[in-house]
């Protein structure tokens, strides 16, 4: 393990292919329960396994998209990757630097790491300070990190705004003077200001209209190619993911159930849940295609079903699925956590 204590700028001489890695990442939240409640139930505090033993790697300049329904832990995972949450166990590495350990360590190493990873949030109405002018919002990370002098800020900010398709004159305006799409561009300009290598996008377009969504997705893809960014892209929308991702992970109740290259996942999905998600997507260009009725809903994360968490909604579940939890195992170029797939029943 190279992470702890290693200077954050110590880059390998040859570019390592793996830029970001998560291994056994787990986050458990403890719910506050009144003591009377606990006494009556005769149990300890209740826990939610928001993220449960998740491992993946992202190669340099590639995009991994994580897809799942609300409550599957995808946003918690995003926050773990940039150190906004501390993992209960497991480790996140960005360029072989242990994220949690470095951020809680000496300030200069933590600071250097922070500039190398940035995050774009879902709601551009909530993520920008309404009382700050755009120029200050975009310049803040640069000044905070001491990367530029205050006198250099206007030129840098103008260049950044231009790269996301906004005008230099916009620096004097406030966030409320922009539309949702433009605000998301501002968040993107701020996120790329420090020249990060790792960008986490948490549902960056779900608050936007389709026509604006197309603009923002295209912008993200362009910037990512230009700047060789490694991206973790979180979304609930499988169709959107198709335009940005190289690899796709499907999450269900805190665990990855299928991890596959994009082409594999869309052409030959393995896990029954992936099938279900794909079938549920409405599609304009396949007229007359009936959406498959989806059975049931996501179970209560406080009381996840035993065995495979998906078994109550799965048409292929058998006795083994109800008792034994499937591990994420390779099957060709794909990793799947499903007994039916591994036994060849599917």
């Amino acid at each position: 393990m190279t992470g702890h204590g290693a200077p954050a700028f110590d880059r390998p001489a040859t570019p390592a292919t793996v830029a970001v890695e998560a291994r056994g990442l787990t986050k458990t939240f403890v719910l506050h329960t009144p003591w009377t409640d606990r006494l009556l139930r005769r149990g300890g505090p209740r826990r939610i396994h928001a993220v449960d033993d998740v491992s993946f790697t992202i190669a340099r300049g590639r995009t991994l998209a994580l897809v799942g329904e609300s409550g599957c832990g995808k946003s918690t995972l995003a926050r773990l990757m940039v150190g906004l949450e501390t993992p209960t166990s497991g480790t996140a590495w960005v360029d072989r630097v242990d994220v949690a350990a470095t951020l809680s360590g000496p300030e200069d190493a933590a600071c250097a790491l922070r500039r190398r990873m940035q995050m774009i949030f879902q709601d551009p109405y909530a993520s920008l300070d309404p009382r700050w002018r755009i120029g200050n919002i975009v310049a803040e990370p640069l000044l905070e990190q001491g990367l530029i002098l205050r006198t250099q800020a206007p030129a840098r900010v103008a260049a950044l705004l231009a790269s996301v398709g906004l005008q230099g004159a916009d620096v004097r305006l406030f966030p409320h003077q922009f539309s949702g799409g433009q605000r998301q561009r501002i968040s993107i300009a701020r996120a790329i200001a420090t020249g990060p290598e790792f960008l986490v996008c948490d549902e960056p377009t779900s608050a936007l209209d389709v026509s604006v969504q197309a603009q923002v997705l295209n912008l993200l893809v362009d910037l990512q190619r230009e700047r060789v960014l490694s991206c973790l892209f979180i979304s609930h929308n499988l169709v959107v993911v198709r335009y940005v991702a190289d690899d796709v992970g499907v999450m269900y109740l805190g665990r990855i159930v299928e991890l596959a290259p994009k082409a594999e996942l869309f052409v030959a999905p393995r896990h029954p849940y992936t099938h279900m998600l794909l079938a549920a997507v409405p599609d304009l260009r396949s007229p007359g295609r009936e959406r498959a009725p989806v059975l049931g809903e996501v179970p209560d994360p406080l009381a996840p079903p035993p065995g495979c968490a998906f078994h109550p909604r799965c048409p292929h579940a058998n006795e083994r699925c109800r008792v034994e939890r499937p591990a994420l195992l390779p099957s060709g170029a794909v990793q799947v956590a499903c007994h039916a797939v591994q036994e060849g029943r599917l």
Partner: protein
């Protein structure tokens, strides 16, 4: 009855502000036939929800209807006194809103809310209303409806809550249901269930639906006809398949192309340059002209009205006419 159920004629809505009056809806006209599902689609701020709110008389002040007429079964409803309008809502027109949590009262049990709605609109005894409420919950696919009656909204999941809202909207057996983004707050998987339910139940009751959404996928699989709105006006209206596959208005063309599709192989999404104009900066002539690839001097000067182009009606001087293929 053969006439349309709902007729909207040249509807205008404006908002007086300190800096002048803003025209949010400007001459919106359409019909809904009995049993028909009409989709209203457009970007945020195009006026979709405002159209719905104007019809059920729930415009937020200072917004006000400043012109046009709304007729339900041939009777004007836009100038009704407040009390008659209140009676009409729920009985004649049901409404389903985006966020099921805010449309339910968190302090009352689901059963109490249903029974209250039923008894307001229908001559039922308490026992009959209770029975009917359980039946409604069962129809909307809620398991164990008897037990669910005694629960509060927070004890329901998002999808289940939206089912309750649908049950409430249909309780008075309305002739028209206005559904404003009913699936936007839900996961895709649950979305499909709710859409199917809404379509099935309204069909069974013979109710018409005005479905407001920004999701073209939902429109495609649910509606009979669709109206596309841009900057407070309808720019194209017609049968769903025609609008999706043979759009005539350049805005509709751009909108359809920017919808991501599983049929694509990835690559780049088509995008419309620019953004929807603000209400105080709506361009003269055709409001879409600054973003339109086909705009001419005429588009900058004169506003186009809806006119028949092939199989849809579009408000455009240079509609896209495809030679009769497919």
């Amino acid at each position: 009855m053969t006439g349309p159920l709902l007729e909207v004629r040249e509807l205008c809505v404006e908002f007086p502000t300190r800096r002048g009056t803003l025209r949010a809806l400007d001459g919106v006209s359409f019909d809904i036939a009995p049993g028909e599902i009409l989709g209203i689609v457009g970007e945020s701020g195009a006026g979709k929800s405002l159209t719905g709110a104007a019809i059920i008389g729930l415009l937020e002040p200072p917004g006000r209807v400043c012109g046009g007429q709304i007729l339900l079964e041939g009777q004007r409803i836009d100038d009704l006194p407040r009390e008659s309008m209140r009676r009409l809502r729920g009985k004649q027109i049901g409404a389903i809103f985006q966020d099921p949590l805010t449309s339910l009262n968190p302090l009352y049990t689901v059963g109490r809310q249903l029974v209250e709605t039923l008894r307001t609109h229908l001559p039922l005894s308490a026992a009959q209303a209770r029975e009917r409420a359980i039946e409604l919950l069962r129809q909307t696919g809620i398991p164990a409806p008897e037990a669910r009656m005694a629960q509060y909204p927070h004890e329901f999941s998002g999808g289940m809550r939206q089912r309750v809202v649908i049950a409430l909207a249909l309780a008075g057996e309305p002739k028209l249901v206005i559904a404003d983004e009913p699936t936007t707050a839900l996961d895709v998987a649950v979305q499909a269930q709710i859409i199917r339910l809404l379509r099935g139940l309204t069909q069974a009751q013979g109710a018409s639906v005005m479905l407001i959404t920004h999701d073209m996928g939902v429109i495609a699989e649910t509606c009979d006809r669709v109206a596309v709105m841009y900057a407070g006006r309808i720019v194209e209206i017609g049968p769903v398949a025609e609008v999706i596959h043979h759009p005539a208005h350049p805005y509709t063309v751009g909108l359809m192309a920017s919808v991501p599709s599983l049929a694509d192989t990835g690559g780049r999404l088509a995008q419309i340059p620019g953004a929807l104009p603000r209400l105080d900066e709506i361009p003269a002539g055709c409001a879409f002209h600054p973003r339109c690839p086909k705009a001419s001097q005429r588009c900058r000067d004169e506003r186009p009205e809806l006119a028949l182009v092939q199989r849809t009606r579009a408000a455009c001087w240079w509609p896209i006419v495809k030679s009769a293929a497919a």
